[in-house]
Amino acid sequence: MKTAANVTRLWVDEFALASALSAHDLTVRQVLPSVEVLDSAGPARVVGNYGYSGSQNGFFDAATGASNFDQQSFTDLRIDESHYLSRAYGTAVGATAYLEIIRLTERPLAVAREEAVLLHFSHEGAGGLARGALLGSGAAAVQNYAGVNLGATVSGKTFAVHFHLIAIAAATITMKLQESQNDGAPDAYADIAGLTSGALAAAGIVRVTTTAATEAWKRLVVSGAFGSATIAVCAGLVASA
């Protein structure tokens, strides 16, 4: 399905960035060494590793609180550790999503006459890139979310989940993934070992993976006792040979 850019959403760690950004891109590059020999007819190549990078263009915002894009990009995302970015191309459960492990590379802040103050950041990939779907976002409720057919995965392939907890008030929330061969009927949904956030009491990010085989349909299950919580959960299969 073709989509307009304004339905896309980005989350990095515990930050929802759609309210700060006006444009973003993701680029994947593969290493393709030439193995051309004397009797080659046409090119001969083999596949090496891959890399990816992205850039996000937005507006400077120093407001206190969750929308503080300046603090997020300078203080929180610039520290020496990998961060987890989820990029969804839609807001509904099932929208295509990419799951990235990133390191920030630059963060230019630009001021020019007669224009808004701009704040951008760019990043390089720092781990496997996964493609899958958005399993739930926005205000969380204790419930089973709709199932999504992400395709069965085989043992040895890495299936990744990003549990972004943007905000929470009054106690704890637990998020986990369940699987079914056919959206619950006749094969009932069951927990996937290891794919849980655990009980969370503060905003943050939890990335979990499994290399065990999984069934085609996955759904998000939210439990716990909380006054309010804002979440974004994406899951997908990591590209690998």
Partner: protein
């Protein structure tokens, strides 16, 4: 052979037609043309070696199952895919060349910006011979 507008062009990636999302297709063939000038050459002297080829694609991003985004991501860390290009949208014939071959994904970029659709571009490098079918 009549000249044709781009609206008729067909393009298959891994046996799936994706011309409905493409806005631009470019096929580039590059020859190794090696200069072998001697002392007495008058003007350049060259011989021909192997060749290389690639496809450049641009389109409106489509995340649906089995469409361009999933087909291109399937080529990340993968061995190869196939392409089939019919410039005039007609099955191969004497006046209707079709270009086919195996490809490897070199790059894939998705772009999103306020006021526009999600778009993408990709470069597919040839892997082996490029065939021009006319029958």
């Amino acid at each position: 052979m009549a000249k044709v507008a781009s609206i008729v062009a067909d393009f298959e990636l891994s046996s799936v037609a994706i011309e409905d999302e493409l806005t631009s297709i470019s096929m580039d063939v590059r020859q190794q043309v090696i200069q072998v000038d001697g002392l007495s050459s008058v003007g350049p002297e060259r011989v021909q070696g192997n060749y290389d080829w690639s496809f450049g694609l641009e389109g409106t991003w489509d995340g649906a199952s089995g469409q361009g985004d999933s087909l291109l991501f399937d080529l990340v860390a993968s061995t190869s895919g196939t392409v089939g290009f019919e410039p005039d949208g007609v099955t191969a014939g004497p006046s209707n060349p079709n270009y086919d071959g195996s490809v490897l994904l070199e790059s894939y970029s998705i772009k999103s910006a306020v006021g526009a659709a999600n778009t993408y571009s990709a470069t597919l490098q040839g892997s082996g011979a490029l065939s021009r079918a006319v029958a």
